[in-house]
Protein backbone atom coordinates (compact mmCIF):
# COMPACT_ATOMS: atom_id res chain seq x y z
CA UNK A 1 0.00 0.00 0.00
CA UNK A 2 2.73 2.45 0.94
CA UNK A 3 4.42 1.64 -2.34
CA UNK A 4 1.43 2.88 -4.26
CA UNK A 5 1.09 5.94 -2.04
CA UNK A 6 4.73 6.87 -2.55
CA UNK A 7 4.42 6.40 -6.30
CA UNK A 8 1.28 8.52 -6.44
CA UNK A 9 2.83 11.16 -4.23
CA UNK A 10 6.02 11.40 -6.26
CA UNK A 11 4.20 11.74 -9.56
CA UNK A 12 1.86 14.32 -8.02
CA UNK A 13 4.80 16.27 -6.64
CA UNK A 14 6.64 16.22 -9.96
CA UNK A 15 3.47 17.24 -11.77
CA UNK A 16 2.70 20.08 -9.38
CA UNK A 17 6.30 21.30 -9.45
CA UNK A 18 6.28 21.32 -13.24
CA UNK A 19 2.94 23.13 -13.22
CA UNK A 20 4.12 25.73 -10.73
CA UNK A 21 7.38 26.32 -12.56
CA UNK A 22 5.52 26.70 -15.84
CA UNK A 23 2.93 29.10 -14.46
CA UNK A 24 5.65 31.09 -12.70
CA UNK A 25 7.65 31.18 -15.92
CA UNK A 26 4.67 32.31 -17.95
CA UNK A 27 4.27 35.25 -15.57
CA UNK A 28 7.97 36.10 -15.26
CA UNK A 29 8.77 35.70 -18.93
CA UNK A 30 5.49 37.13 -20.19
CA UNK A 31 5.93 38.90 -23.50
CA UNK A 32 3.86 42.08 -23.72
CA UNK A 33 1.32 41.57 -26.48
CA UNK A 34 0.41 44.49 -28.67
CA UNK A 35 -3.35 44.46 -28.06
CA UNK A 36 -4.02 46.95 -30.81
CA UNK A 37 -2.19 44.77 -33.33
CA UNK A 38 -4.18 41.71 -32.27
CA UNK A 39 -7.44 43.63 -32.65
CA UNK A 40 -6.42 44.93 -36.06
CA UNK A 41 -5.35 41.50 -37.23
CA UNK A 42 -8.77 40.14 -36.40
CA UNK A 43 -10.33 42.78 -38.63
CA UNK A 44 -8.01 42.16 -41.56
CA UNK A 45 -9.24 39.59 -44.08
CA UNK A 46 -6.55 37.05 -43.24
CA UNK A 47 -5.72 36.34 -46.87
CA UNK A 48 -1.98 36.74 -46.16
CA UNK A 49 -1.53 37.70 -49.79
CA UNK A 50 1.11 40.36 -49.22
CA UNK A 51 -0.61 42.91 -51.46
CA UNK A 52 -0.03 45.52 -48.73
CA UNK A 53 3.71 45.02 -48.96
CA UNK A 54 4.07 43.45 -45.51
CA UNK A 55 4.70 39.85 -44.55
CA UNK A 56 1.11 38.74 -44.26
CA UNK A 57 -1.77 40.18 -42.26
CA UNK A 58 0.06 39.98 -38.92
CA UNK A 59 2.95 42.03 -40.29
CA UNK A 60 0.59 44.71 -41.60
CA UNK A 61 -1.34 44.74 -38.31
CA UNK A 62 1.87 45.24 -36.32
CA UNK A 63 3.03 48.03 -38.63
CA UNK A 64 -0.39 49.72 -38.47
CA UNK A 65 -0.48 49.66 -34.70
CA UNK A 66 2.99 51.20 -34.51
CA UNK A 67 1.93 53.85 -36.97
CA UNK A 68 4.52 52.74 -39.52
CA UNK A 69 2.04 51.87 -42.23
CA UNK A 70 -0.72 53.75 -43.95
CA UNK A 71 -4.34 52.73 -43.83
CA UNK A 72 -5.92 51.45 -46.99
CA UNK A 73 -3.05 49.31 -48.26
CA UNK A 74 -5.19 46.21 -47.89
CA UNK A 75 -6.79 45.88 -51.29
CA UNK A 76 -8.54 42.65 -50.35
CA UNK A 77 -10.38 44.25 -47.42
CA UNK A 78 -11.06 47.52 -49.21
CA UNK A 79 -13.15 50.30 -47.72
CA UNK A 80 -14.91 48.16 -45.11
CA UNK A 81 -11.65 47.18 -43.44
CA UNK A 82 -10.35 50.75 -43.43
CA UNK A 83 -13.55 51.96 -41.80
CA UNK A 84 -13.38 49.30 -39.09
CA UNK A 85 -9.68 49.79 -38.31
CA UNK A 86 -9.65 53.59 -38.30
CA UNK A 87 -11.46 53.93 -34.91
CA UNK A 88 -8.92 51.58 -33.26
CA UNK A 89 -6.05 53.71 -34.48
CA UNK A 90 -7.95 56.87 -33.64
CA UNK A 91 -7.43 58.32 -37.10
CA UNK A 92 -9.68 59.38 -39.89
CA UNK A 93 -10.42 56.67 -42.41
CA UNK A 94 -9.11 57.27 -45.89
CA UNK A 95 -11.00 56.78 -49.09
CA UNK A 96 -9.97 53.61 -50.85
CA UNK A 97 -10.39 53.29 -54.56
CA UNK A 98 -11.18 49.65 -55.24
CA UNK A 99 -8.78 47.92 -57.58
CA UNK A 100 -9.05 44.98 -59.87
CA UNK A 101 -6.73 42.85 -61.93
CA UNK A 102 -6.96 42.65 -65.71
CA UNK A 103 -5.18 40.64 -68.37
CA UNK A 104 -3.23 42.66 -70.93
CA UNK A 105 -4.06 40.29 -73.74
CA UNK A 106 -7.07 39.80 -76.02
CA UNK A 107 -5.72 36.86 -77.96
CA UNK A 108 -8.34 34.17 -77.55
CA UNK A 109 -8.54 31.10 -79.76
CA UNK A 110 -10.31 33.03 -82.51
CA UNK A 111 -7.84 35.88 -82.71
CA UNK A 112 -4.65 33.89 -82.63
CA UNK A 113 -3.59 30.28 -82.89
CA UNK A 114 -0.97 27.82 -81.74
CA UNK A 115 2.37 27.30 -83.38
CA UNK A 116 2.87 23.80 -81.98
CA UNK A 117 1.02 21.07 -80.17
CA UNK A 118 1.93 20.97 -76.51
CA UNK A 119 1.53 17.76 -74.53
CA UNK A 120 3.51 18.57 -71.40
CA UNK A 121 2.38 19.62 -67.95
CA UNK A 122 -0.80 21.66 -68.19
CA UNK A 123 0.67 24.74 -66.63
CA UNK A 124 1.59 28.11 -68.13
CA UNK A 125 4.87 28.16 -66.22
CA UNK A 126 5.90 24.80 -67.68
CA UNK A 127 4.77 25.69 -71.20
CA UNK A 128 6.60 29.00 -71.03
CA UNK A 129 9.89 27.23 -70.42
CA UNK A 130 9.52 25.42 -73.74
CA UNK A 131 10.41 28.13 -76.28
CA UNK A 132 8.15 30.64 -74.55
CA UNK A 133 4.90 28.73 -74.90
CA UNK A 134 3.09 27.21 -77.86
CA UNK A 135 1.14 30.26 -79.00
CA UNK A 136 2.12 32.17 -82.13
CA UNK A 137 2.42 35.25 -79.94
CA UNK A 138 5.15 34.78 -77.34
CA UNK A 139 3.90 37.73 -75.28
CA UNK A 140 0.27 36.75 -74.81
CA UNK A 141 -1.83 34.60 -72.55
CA UNK A 142 -0.84 30.92 -72.65
CA UNK A 143 -4.23 29.89 -71.36
CA UNK A 144 -3.54 27.00 -68.99
CA UNK A 145 -4.88 29.07 -66.14
CA UNK A 146 -2.07 29.24 -63.60
CA UNK A 147 -3.74 32.50 -62.58
CA UNK A 148 -7.18 30.89 -62.26
CA UNK A 149 -5.68 28.13 -60.11
CA UNK A 150 -4.00 30.55 -57.74
CA UNK A 151 -6.99 32.89 -57.39
CA UNK A 152 -8.61 32.41 -54.00
CA UNK A 153 -11.71 34.35 -54.95
CA UNK A 154 -12.63 32.40 -58.07
CA UNK A 155 -12.40 35.59 -60.08
CA UNK A 156 -10.41 34.34 -63.06
CA UNK A 157 -11.71 31.98 -65.69
CA UNK A 158 -10.22 30.75 -68.95
CA UNK A 159 -12.61 31.72 -71.72
CA UNK A 160 -11.80 30.47 -75.18
CA UNK A 161 -8.11 30.09 -74.34
CA UNK A 162 -7.76 33.46 -72.68
CA UNK A 163 -7.71 34.34 -68.98
CA UNK A 164 -10.51 36.75 -68.11
CA UNK A 165 -10.85 38.51 -64.77
CA UNK A 166 -14.29 39.01 -63.25
CA UNK A 167 -13.76 42.42 -61.69
CA UNK A 168 -16.73 42.02 -59.34
CA UNK A 169 -15.12 39.02 -57.69
CA UNK A 170 -11.50 40.24 -57.91
CA UNK A 171 -10.09 41.52 -54.62
CA UNK A 172 -6.83 42.77 -56.16
CA UNK A 173 -4.60 40.61 -53.96
CA UNK A 174 -2.06 40.34 -56.77
CA UNK A 175 -1.49 36.59 -56.54
CA UNK A 176 -2.19 36.18 -60.25
CA UNK A 177 0.20 39.00 -61.12
CA UNK A 178 2.98 37.10 -59.36
CA UNK A 179 2.17 33.72 -60.85
CA UNK A 180 1.72 34.72 -64.50
CA UNK A 181 4.89 33.66 -66.36
CA UNK A 182 4.15 36.14 -69.16
CA UNK A 183 3.78 39.04 -66.71
CA UNK A 184 0.68 40.26 -68.50
CA UNK A 185 -1.65 40.60 -65.53
CA UNK A 186 -1.78 43.98 -63.89
CA UNK A 187 -3.73 45.50 -61.01
CA UNK A 188 -5.29 48.91 -61.55
CA UNK A 189 -7.75 51.17 -59.80
CA UNK A 190 -11.33 50.55 -60.91
CA UNK A 191 -11.51 54.25 -61.81
CA UNK A 192 -9.11 53.71 -64.68
CA UNK A 193 -10.86 54.67 -67.91
CA UNK A 194 -9.23 52.73 -70.74
CA UNK A 195 -6.57 50.02 -70.92
CA UNK A 196 -4.53 48.43 -73.69
CA UNK A 197 -5.35 44.75 -73.70
CA UNK A 198 -2.25 43.58 -75.52
CA UNK A 199 1.37 43.06 -74.55
CA UNK A 200 2.90 42.22 -77.91
CA UNK A 201 6.10 44.11 -78.70
CA UNK A 202 6.65 42.62 -82.16
CA UNK A 203 6.62 44.85 -85.20
CA UNK A 204 3.17 45.76 -86.51
CA UNK A 205 3.29 43.73 -89.72
CA UNK A 206 4.33 40.57 -87.90
CA UNK A 207 1.82 41.13 -85.11
CA UNK A 208 -0.95 41.43 -87.67
CA UNK A 209 0.00 38.02 -89.07
CA UNK A 210 -0.04 36.17 -85.78
CA UNK A 211 -2.95 37.76 -83.93
CA UNK A 212 -6.10 39.58 -84.98
CA UNK A 213 -6.26 41.29 -81.61
CA UNK A 214 -2.70 42.57 -81.30
CA UNK A 215 -1.35 46.08 -81.00
CA UNK A 216 0.34 46.93 -84.29
CA UNK A 217 1.78 50.21 -83.08
CA UNK A 218 -0.15 52.28 -85.68
CA UNK A 219 -0.05 55.35 -83.42
CA UNK A 220 -3.66 56.27 -84.13
CA UNK A 221 -4.39 56.32 -80.42
CA UNK A 222 -1.36 58.49 -79.70
CA UNK A 223 -2.39 61.03 -82.30
CA UNK A 224 -6.01 61.19 -81.21
CA UNK A 225 -5.22 61.65 -77.53
CA UNK A 226 -5.55 65.32 -76.58
CA UNK A 227 -3.97 64.88 -73.17
CA UNK A 228 -0.69 63.31 -74.24
CA UNK A 229 -1.48 60.21 -72.19
CA UNK A 230 -0.62 57.61 -74.82
CA UNK A 231 2.82 56.66 -76.02
CA UNK A 232 4.04 53.91 -78.30
CA UNK A 233 6.99 52.07 -76.82
CA UNK A 234 8.43 48.96 -78.46
CA UNK A 235 5.59 48.82 -80.98
CA UNK A 236 3.11 48.74 -78.13
CA UNK A 237 0.68 51.40 -77.03
CA UNK A 238 0.89 52.45 -73.39
CA UNK A 239 -1.55 54.65 -71.51
CA UNK A 240 -0.37 56.91 -68.72
CA UNK A 241 -3.30 56.51 -66.31
CA UNK A 242 -2.45 59.70 -64.44
CA UNK A 243 -2.84 61.79 -67.55
CA UNK A 244 -5.81 59.94 -69.02
CA UNK A 245 -9.02 61.97 -68.74
CA UNK A 246 -11.38 59.30 -69.98
CA UNK A 247 -12.46 60.83 -73.30
CA UNK A 248 -12.39 57.32 -74.80
CA UNK A 249 -11.35 58.59 -78.22
CA UNK A 250 -8.56 56.01 -78.34
CA UNK A 251 -11.07 53.26 -77.75
CA UNK A 252 -13.05 54.40 -80.78
CA UNK A 253 -10.05 54.85 -83.03
CA UNK A 254 -8.15 51.63 -82.31
CA UNK A 255 -8.32 49.49 -85.48
CA UNK A 256 -7.54 46.28 -83.59
CA UNK A 257 -10.11 47.02 -80.85
CA UNK A 258 -7.63 46.26 -78.10
CA UNK A 259 -7.90 49.58 -76.30
CA UNK A 260 -10.97 48.88 -74.25
CA UNK A 261 -12.88 50.66 -71.55
CA UNK A 262 -11.89 49.30 -68.16
CA UNK A 263 -14.59 47.21 -66.47
Amino acid sequence: MTHILIAVLIVIIIGITAGLVLSAASVIFAVPVDKKAVQIQELLPGANCGACGFSGCSGYAAALSKGEAKLGLCSVGGQAVVDSIAPILGTEGTEVTPKTAYVRCSGNNESTSKIAQYQGIRSCAAAKQLHGGMGKCTYGCIGFGDCAAVCEYDAISIQNGLAVVNSDKCRACGSCVKVCPQGIIDVQSKKTHAVVKCSNCDKGAYTKKICKAGCIGCMKCMKVCEHGAIKIENNLSRIDYDKCQGCMKCVEVCPQHIIQPFN
Binding site: I14, V21, A25, A30
Partner: protein
Amino acid sequence: MSITQLVGIFLAAILTENYVLCKFFGICPFLGVSKKLDTALGMSGAVTFVMVLSTAATWPVYTYILVPNQLEYLQTLVFILIIAGLVQLVEIILKKYMPSLYNALGIYLPLITTNCAVLGVTMLVLDKGAENPEFGYIASLVNAFGAGIGFLVAMVMFAGVRERLEAADIPESLKGLPITLVSASLVACSFLGFNGIVDRLLS
Protein backbone atom coordinates in the same frame (compact mmCIF):
# COMPACT_ATOMS: atom_id res chain seq x y z
CA MET B 1 35.41 8.33 -18.46
CA SER B 2 38.16 9.31 -20.84
CA ILE B 3 37.75 11.72 -23.70
CA THR B 4 38.32 8.90 -26.21
CA GLN B 5 35.46 6.96 -24.72
CA LEU B 6 33.20 10.02 -24.89
CA VAL B 7 34.13 10.62 -28.53
CA GLY B 8 33.37 6.94 -29.13
CA ILE B 9 29.96 7.30 -27.53
CA PHE B 10 29.28 10.42 -29.59
CA LEU B 11 30.26 8.84 -32.90
CA ALA B 12 28.47 5.60 -32.10
CA ALA B 13 25.28 7.55 -31.39
CA ILE B 14 25.53 9.17 -34.81
CA LEU B 15 26.62 6.23 -36.95
CA THR B 16 26.09 2.75 -35.50
CA GLU B 17 23.25 3.55 -33.13
CA ASN B 18 21.55 6.19 -35.24
CA TYR B 19 18.18 6.61 -33.55
CA VAL B 20 16.26 7.05 -36.75
CA LEU B 21 17.98 4.70 -39.17
CA CYS B 22 19.16 1.92 -36.85
CA LYS B 23 16.70 2.01 -33.96
CA PHE B 24 13.74 3.36 -35.97
CA PHE B 25 12.68 6.00 -33.47
CA GLY B 26 11.12 9.23 -34.65
CA ILE B 27 10.06 7.91 -38.05
CA CYS B 28 7.10 10.28 -38.02
CA PRO B 29 9.11 13.54 -38.16
CA PHE B 30 11.69 11.74 -40.32
CA LEU B 31 9.07 11.23 -43.03
CA GLY B 32 7.00 14.30 -42.26
CA VAL B 33 9.55 17.09 -42.07
CA SER B 34 12.23 15.85 -44.47
CA LYS B 35 10.60 17.30 -47.57
CA LYS B 36 12.70 20.42 -47.54
CA LEU B 37 16.24 20.96 -46.35
CA ASP B 38 15.62 24.07 -44.27
CA THR B 39 12.71 22.63 -42.31
CA ALA B 40 14.72 19.43 -41.81
CA LEU B 41 17.55 21.48 -40.32
CA GLY B 42 15.18 23.46 -38.09
CA MET B 43 13.49 20.33 -36.78
CA SER B 44 16.79 18.53 -36.10
CA GLY B 45 18.19 21.56 -34.31
CA ALA B 46 15.18 21.65 -32.03
CA VAL B 47 15.31 17.87 -31.47
CA THR B 48 19.00 17.95 -30.52
CA PHE B 49 18.36 20.79 -28.12
CA VAL B 50 15.43 19.06 -26.44
CA MET B 51 17.21 15.66 -26.31
CA VAL B 52 20.18 17.05 -24.39
CA LEU B 53 18.01 19.14 -22.12
CA SER B 54 15.57 16.36 -21.29
CA THR B 55 18.37 13.88 -20.64
CA ALA B 56 19.92 16.45 -18.34
CA ALA B 57 16.63 16.63 -16.43
CA THR B 58 15.42 13.02 -16.47
CA TRP B 59 18.74 11.36 -15.52
CA PRO B 60 18.91 12.93 -12.04
CA VAL B 61 15.19 12.43 -11.47
CA TYR B 62 15.52 8.74 -12.33
CA THR B 63 18.73 8.13 -10.40
CA TYR B 64 17.96 10.13 -7.29
CA ILE B 65 14.17 9.96 -6.99
CA LEU B 66 12.80 6.91 -8.79
CA VAL B 67 15.53 4.34 -8.10
CA PRO B 68 15.81 4.87 -4.31
CA ASN B 69 12.00 4.44 -4.07
CA GLN B 70 11.92 1.35 -6.35
CA LEU B 71 9.72 3.20 -8.78
CA GLU B 72 11.61 2.39 -11.98
CA TYR B 73 8.37 1.24 -13.56
CA LEU B 74 7.09 4.83 -13.53
CA GLN B 75 9.91 5.79 -15.88
CA THR B 76 7.79 6.33 -19.01
CA LEU B 77 5.10 8.32 -17.27
CA VAL B 78 7.43 10.56 -15.29
CA PHE B 79 9.72 11.14 -18.26
CA ILE B 80 6.89 12.24 -20.53
CA LEU B 81 5.69 14.59 -17.79
CA ILE B 82 9.16 16.09 -17.43
CA ILE B 83 9.84 16.36 -21.15
CA ALA B 84 6.48 18.01 -21.80
CA GLY B 85 7.00 20.50 -19.00
CA LEU B 86 10.54 21.19 -20.09
CA VAL B 87 9.63 21.87 -23.71
CA GLN B 88 6.93 24.27 -22.57
CA LEU B 89 9.41 26.04 -20.33
CA VAL B 90 11.96 26.30 -23.12
CA GLU B 91 9.27 27.69 -25.39
CA ILE B 92 8.30 30.38 -22.89
CA ILE B 93 11.91 31.40 -22.29
CA LEU B 94 12.79 31.41 -25.99
CA LYS B 95 9.76 33.56 -26.75
CA LYS B 96 10.98 36.14 -24.29
CA TYR B 97 14.71 36.24 -24.94
CA MET B 98 15.29 34.82 -28.41
CA PRO B 99 12.20 35.60 -30.49
CA SER B 100 14.11 34.97 -33.71
CA LEU B 101 15.04 31.44 -32.66
CA TYR B 102 11.50 30.97 -31.34
CA ASN B 103 10.09 31.92 -34.72
CA ALA B 104 12.59 29.67 -36.48
CA LEU B 105 11.77 26.61 -34.35
CA GLY B 106 8.12 27.64 -34.31
CA ILE B 107 5.83 24.65 -34.57
CA TYR B 108 8.64 22.12 -34.17
CA LEU B 109 9.01 22.64 -30.42
CA PRO B 110 5.51 21.46 -29.47
CA LEU B 111 5.82 18.66 -32.04
CA ILE B 112 8.88 17.36 -30.25
CA THR B 113 7.12 17.14 -26.90
CA THR B 114 5.73 13.74 -27.70
CA ASN B 115 8.46 12.61 -30.07
CA CYS B 116 9.42 9.02 -29.33
CA ALA B 117 13.04 9.67 -30.31
CA VAL B 118 13.40 12.05 -27.38
CA LEU B 119 11.76 9.66 -24.95
CA GLY B 120 13.79 6.81 -26.42
CA VAL B 121 17.08 8.59 -25.87
CA THR B 122 16.32 9.45 -22.26
CA MET B 123 15.33 5.86 -21.51
CA LEU B 124 18.03 4.05 -23.46
CA VAL B 125 20.88 5.98 -21.85
CA LEU B 126 19.58 4.64 -18.53
CA ASP B 127 19.72 1.07 -19.86
CA LYS B 128 23.29 1.68 -20.92
CA GLY B 129 24.06 3.07 -17.49
CA ALA B 130 22.62 -0.10 -15.93
CA GLU B 131 24.84 -2.32 -18.09
CA ASN B 132 27.97 -0.28 -17.57
CA PRO B 133 28.38 1.60 -14.28
CA GLU B 134 30.95 3.86 -15.91
CA PHE B 135 28.25 5.24 -18.21
CA GLY B 136 27.35 8.20 -16.00
CA TYR B 137 25.71 11.59 -16.31
CA ILE B 138 28.29 13.14 -18.67
CA ALA B 139 28.31 10.08 -20.93
CA SER B 140 24.49 10.21 -21.05
CA LEU B 141 24.55 13.84 -22.10
CA VAL B 142 27.14 13.14 -24.79
CA ASN B 143 25.05 10.23 -26.00
CA ALA B 144 21.95 12.42 -26.14
CA PHE B 145 23.81 15.10 -28.09
CA GLY B 146 25.15 12.48 -30.49
CA ALA B 147 21.66 11.08 -30.93
CA GLY B 148 20.43 14.56 -31.85
CA ILE B 149 23.24 15.05 -34.36
CA GLY B 150 22.50 11.58 -35.72
CA PHE B 151 18.89 12.67 -36.19
CA LEU B 152 20.16 15.72 -38.06
CA VAL B 153 22.40 13.60 -40.30
CA ALA B 154 19.54 11.25 -41.11
CA MET B 155 17.12 14.10 -41.80
CA VAL B 156 19.52 16.05 -44.00
CA MET B 157 20.55 12.94 -45.95
CA PHE B 158 16.96 11.94 -46.47
CA ALA B 159 15.94 15.46 -47.46
CA GLY B 160 18.57 15.19 -50.19
CA VAL B 161 17.24 11.81 -51.28
CA ARG B 162 13.70 13.15 -51.41
CA GLU B 163 14.71 16.14 -53.47
CA ARG B 164 16.11 13.68 -56.01
CA LEU B 165 12.89 11.67 -55.84
CA GLU B 166 10.95 14.75 -56.92
CA ALA B 167 12.64 14.61 -60.30
CA ALA B 168 12.67 10.83 -60.65
CA ASP B 169 10.31 8.95 -62.95
CA ILE B 170 8.39 6.84 -60.42
CA PRO B 171 5.78 4.22 -61.36
CA GLU B 172 2.27 5.47 -60.65
CA SER B 173 1.58 2.87 -57.97
CA LEU B 174 4.69 3.81 -55.97
CA LYS B 175 4.25 7.57 -56.07
CA GLY B 176 4.15 9.45 -52.79
CA LEU B 177 4.54 7.62 -49.51
CA PRO B 178 5.40 4.13 -50.86
CA ILE B 179 8.55 5.27 -52.66
CA THR B 180 9.45 7.42 -49.64
CA LEU B 181 9.29 4.37 -47.38
CA VAL B 182 11.26 2.25 -49.84
CA SER B 183 13.99 4.86 -50.08
CA ALA B 184 13.97 5.27 -46.30
CA SER B 185 14.61 1.55 -45.92
CA LEU B 186 17.46 1.72 -48.42
CA VAL B 187 19.05 4.60 -46.54
CA ALA B 188 18.65 2.60 -43.32
CA CYS B 189 20.31 -0.42 -44.97
CA SER B 190 23.24 1.72 -45.98
CA PHE B 191 23.68 2.75 -42.36
CA LEU B 192 24.19 -0.89 -41.40
CA GLY B 193 27.53 -0.55 -43.16
CA PHE B 194 28.78 1.50 -40.25
CA ASN B 195 28.53 -1.46 -37.88
CA GLY B 196 31.71 -1.82 -35.87
CA ILE B 197 33.39 1.10 -37.54
CA VAL B 198 33.54 3.23 -34.40
CA ASP B 199 35.11 0.55 -32.18
CA ARG B 200 37.83 -0.10 -34.75
CA LEU B 201 38.34 3.59 -35.29
CA LEU B 202 39.15 4.26 -31.66
CA SER B 203 40.84 1.01 -30.64
